[in-house]
């Protein structure tokens, strides 16, 4: 079953006064349930824009988009927000945890907004934090824990309400290699064990090598698609090859550190 079905979607910035800019250009793609899909591409190619469109944060300029069977182009802004909070989980490069809340409160936030019972929230919190190995920091504040821990807390927040899909925009962008690895392992773990459908945008070939399938985009169009074979090492090499083919992003080429 396809969780996300995008048919020929476009996003045009500017217009009216300024010059029009097609950030996404008639792009079509599907994401199946339980898939772990990566999106890569040079800077300015439209990765973030694509993620924002698929996650209903941004409005489509043209095209059709169904998520979990509902046509979201017809929903009002208000309905979209409630839809997002039920059906989606978000992970951002800069964590986006609220510093006025404890880690535990941050994780429970989606359930709280949904009006769930305190008991239920606490059980779910205990379960997810255990899975992600962050039980020890639940009572802490956001400034008291490391970046890797913050990102895992953010993953917990994205997962706790069992959304149909998780969107991650450069989740390892602010992390060192050790924390990156922890975070990616957490994400793949959730993907394999709990069948959490995930779409991740990244620059980092190492992080991307955890995905099952990678879409490369350039100038708002799909340029290439890679599937993971049996060997992660080979997959990683393939990613590097496509990246150098795409050009423009050479400074993102990294040495192997598997």
């Amino acid at each position: 079953m396809a969780i996300v079905e995008a048919k020929s979607i476009s996003k045009i910035y500017g217009g009216k006064k300024g010059i029009e800019h097609k950030a996404i250009d008639h792009l079509s793609m599907n994401i199946e349930a339980g898939e772990f899909v990566g999106v890569m591409g040079p800077s300015g190619s439209g990765k973030t824009t694509l993620l924002n469109l698929l996650s209903t944060i941004d409005r489509l300029s043209a095209g059709f988009l169904t998520i979990n069977g509902s046509d979201i182009t017809k929903l009002s802004k208000e309905k979209l927000a409630t839809f997002r909070r039920k059906e989606m989980g978000f992970i951002f490069q800069d964590f986006n945890l609220l510093d006025t809340l404890t880690i535990a409160e941050n994780i429970m936030l989606p359930l709280t907004l949904d009006g769930r019972k305190v008991k239920e929230m606490e059980t779910k919190l205990a379960h997810i934090s255990n899975t992600l190995g962050i039980d020890g920091i639940l009572r802490n504040r956001t400034y008291e824990v490391s970046g890797g821990q913050l990102q895992r807390a953010a993953i917990a927040r994205a997962m706790i309400h069992e959304p149909s899909i998780i969107f991650a925009d450069e989740p390892t962008g602010n992390l060192d290699s050790k924390s990156s690895k922890q975070v990616m392992e957490a994400l793949t773990g959730l993907n394999t064990e709990q069948h959490a459908t995930t779409l991740m945008v990244t620059h980092d070939p190492f992080a991307a090598s955890f995905c099952e399938r990678i879409l490369f985009i350039k100038d708002g169009k799909i340029f290439n698609e890679l599937h993971k074979g049996d060997q992660r090492q080979n997959f990683f090499q393939d990613i590097l090859n496509v990246q150098s083919m795409l050009g423009g992003d050479t400074d993102d080429l990294q040495t192997i550190r598997l």
Partner: protein, 636 residues
């Protein structure tokens, strides 16, 4: 781009942040200017009131100025703090300390000059209205003309310019001590968990409650010695209430999981937890300012409104004339008819009643004192004149002592039986007391009602100079003729009529002195009040950048605009109405203390006044909530 252009563009680009700061400065400049215009008004300069009026206004000017000074200092400080990051960036890019200081001074000078000019313009616009109001208030014949003395302009420009510059220098001086790193951290430093102490919270509450009980039980005699202790308790009490008790309260709320984790409460309460602590000193300041404003204007307005009732309570008959001794009484009729003629000429309806009283002696509070006697049938006639129905009977062995309105302690405690003596007559009566219905006179402290028979008994033995003649007037709707009545009493010869008492005179004195106080008091209060509002507004704007990014991330994870509005409305409402409510409660106890001293009820006037403030505040609230929500909506 020259350096000056850079500074100018900086102001222009930061217009939003500068706006509230600018408006507040402009507002205080224009208020200051308006008072200066009145103070230096050429026609007041020549008026008999000149000295008092000018002294009053000068006092107001000093208050406004020192207040603006504090306000500008606070605002500039807060403003600079919110931009520390920008300065840090400029410094890493290689701007020198001297250049940064010059940038700050230039920026602030630009703002200062613009707000002075704008303030003068706004002030000029409103000066006319104020001049008219003022001439009405102090009863100058004909209105004052519209004139703005150059001195007024000069005073405003010079004092505010000096103030802005001093402030800027103070700011640049504090900046000097900060390292670049500190600048970078600026206001963005991680928020620490608010701390509070239970002991201090309870002490705060205790101080406030003690002050309340002192105010609640105060009366005319105890209010003055208590005033200072009350202030000494209420100010630190309020401070602790905001810095400690409010945080403690929210902490309790946070522990109640079923409330705390109910939908948007989690966001509202947790954010408020920080905001209340961050803003506690500000909220305290705003509360005290508002409480002072409410109390001052409420007390003045209440007293002003109750002038009529107070006059009626102090003076029982609308007008009374009293002569003592046979020879004066013989000439009294002429004087009385002169007075009556005056009233008739002025078209004032009246009823009058003349009666005799006689003098006797009693023993009270360990000494012999003179009293005067009134027969019960005369008493009944007086009551009828005052418009009251009475059914009292005084038998031959009874007497009723009429007590004056203000008594020193012990005065009202009469023995159960008293002996009244006059010449060779000496009778003992059982004693009752009641509130007086005749006007006080300078000769005797008490008037005593006895039976007609007993009165005759004493009157028959009186010496010629122990005889009194009392003429009481009842004037329909006296307060609207107060001045005419008061003027008419000037025609009476005071040698012959020794006791002239009118409600009109008391009423006019109260009104006049209070209207002055009210004029100055209300405007200072309104100024304080508006300043309190501006400070809140300013603070909200400062937080906006932080809040915008907060709501941006919340929107992404699915917070609806409706929920954002709900949270934002609640938070703005708490920040606005918590200080307001505390100030109202503070003021209510002050009103209660005032009530203890007055006969008339101050409840309605104070309610009216608070409602006006509430209305202004509500408009303010909706305005700021609108701005705030609109800003947040931009990112959603």
């Amino acid at each position: 781009m020259t350096f000056k252009q850079f500074a100018f563009n900086n102001v222009k680009r930061n217009a939003r942040q500068y706006m509230s700061y600018f408006f507040s400065c402009m507002f205080s400049v224009s208020v200051f200017f308006i008072y200066a215009v009145i103070m230096f008004h050429p026609e007041i300069d020549g008026h008999e009131f000149r000295q008092t009026v000018q002294r009053g206004i000068a006092a107001v000017e000093i208050i406004i100025f020192s207040f603006s000074f504090l306000f500008v200092m606070y605002s500039t400080g807060a403003f600079i703090k919110s931009r520390k990051k920008e300065y840090g960036l400029l410094m890493t890019l290689g701007i020198s300390k001297g250049q940064l200081n010059r940038l700050l001074i230039l920026e602030n000078t630009i703002i200062g000059c613009v707000s002075i000019v704008a303030g003068l313009l706004i002030g000029t616009l409103f000066a006319n209205v104020f001049i008219m109001g003022f001439s009405n208030m102090i009863d100058i014949d004909g209105s004052l003309g519209f004139a703005i003395a150059p001195k007024a302009v000069l005073l405003t420009v010079v004092s505010y310019f000096v103030m802005f510059e001093l402030n800027t220098l103070a700011i640049t001086w504090t900046m000097r001590t900060n390292a670049v790193v500190d600048l970078f951290r600026g206001a963005k430093a991680a928020k620490r968990v608010p701390k509070f102490s239970w002991i201090l919270s309870i002490i705060g509450l205790g101080l406030v409650i003690t002050a309340y009980s002192l105010a609640w039980t105060a009366d005319l005699l105890s209010i003055f010695p208590r005033m200072f202790p009350i202030l000494l308790l209420i100010i630190p009490g309020t401070y602790l209430l905001f810095t400690q008790s409010s945080v403690a309260l929210i902490n309790l709320l946070r522990r109640n999981k079923s409330i705390y984790f109910r939908q948007t409460n989690l966001l509202t309460i947790s954010d408020l937890y920080y905001k209340l602590k961050d803003h506690s000193r500000l909220l305290f300041f705003v509360t005290i300012l508002s409480a002072v404003a409410f109390t001052a204007s409420g007390v003045l307005f209440g007293a002003y409104q109750s002038a009529k009732t107070e006059a009626e309570a102090l003076v029982a008959q609308d007008v009374s004339l009293l002569s003592k001794g046979e020879e004066h009484i013989a000439n009294m009729d002429d004087e009385v008819s002169t007075f009556k003629q005056q009233l008739e000429q002025k078209g004032i309806d009246y009823q009058s009643l003349a009666m005799e009283r006689t003098q006797a002696k009693i023993h009270h509070m360990d000494q012999d004192i003179w009293v005067d006697l009134l027969s019960v049938s005369n008493y009944k006639q007086l009551q009828k004149l005052n418009g009251n129905t009475v059914d009292i009977d005084v038998s031959n062995d009874e007497m009723v002592v009429m007590l004056p309105r203000y008594l020193t302690p012990g005065e009202e405690e009469f023995a159960n039986e008293l002996t009244v003596t006059s010449e060779n007559v000496e009778e003992t009566f059982t004693v009752q007391t009641m509130d007086t219905i005749v006007n006080q006179n300078t000769h005797n402290r008490y008037t005593i009602v006895v039976s007609d028979e007993m009165y005759q008994h004493y009157a028959s033995v009186q010496e010629p100079n122990e005889q009194y003649r009392y003429v009481a007037f009842s004037i329909h709707n006296w307060s609207s003729h107060a001045e005419a009545i008061y003027d008419s009493t000037h025609m009476i010869d005071r040698e012959i009529v020794t006791g002239i008492d009118t409600q009109a005179q008391i009423y006019l004195t109260l009104k006049n002195s209070l209207s002055f106080a009210l004029f100055f008091g209300l405007f200072i209060s309104v100024l304080f009040f508006l300043a309190a509002g501006s400070i809140l507004y300013f603070k909200m704007y400062q937080d906006l950048d932080n809040d915008v990014s907060r709501y941006r991330s919340l929107y992404r994870i699915g917070l609806t605009v409706k929920e954002m509005k709900k949270i934002a409305t609640k938070q703005v409402a708490y920040l606005f109405f918590i200080p307001f409510s505390v100030a109202v409660i503070h003021a209510s106890f002050a009103f209660k203390a005032l009530q203890n001293m007055l006969t008339s009820s101050v409840f309605m006037p104070s309610l009216l006044l608070i409602s006006c403030y509430l209305a202004i505040y509500a408009i303010y609230f909706f305005f700021i909530r609108g701005l705030y929500i609109r800003k947040l909506k931009e990112v959603m």
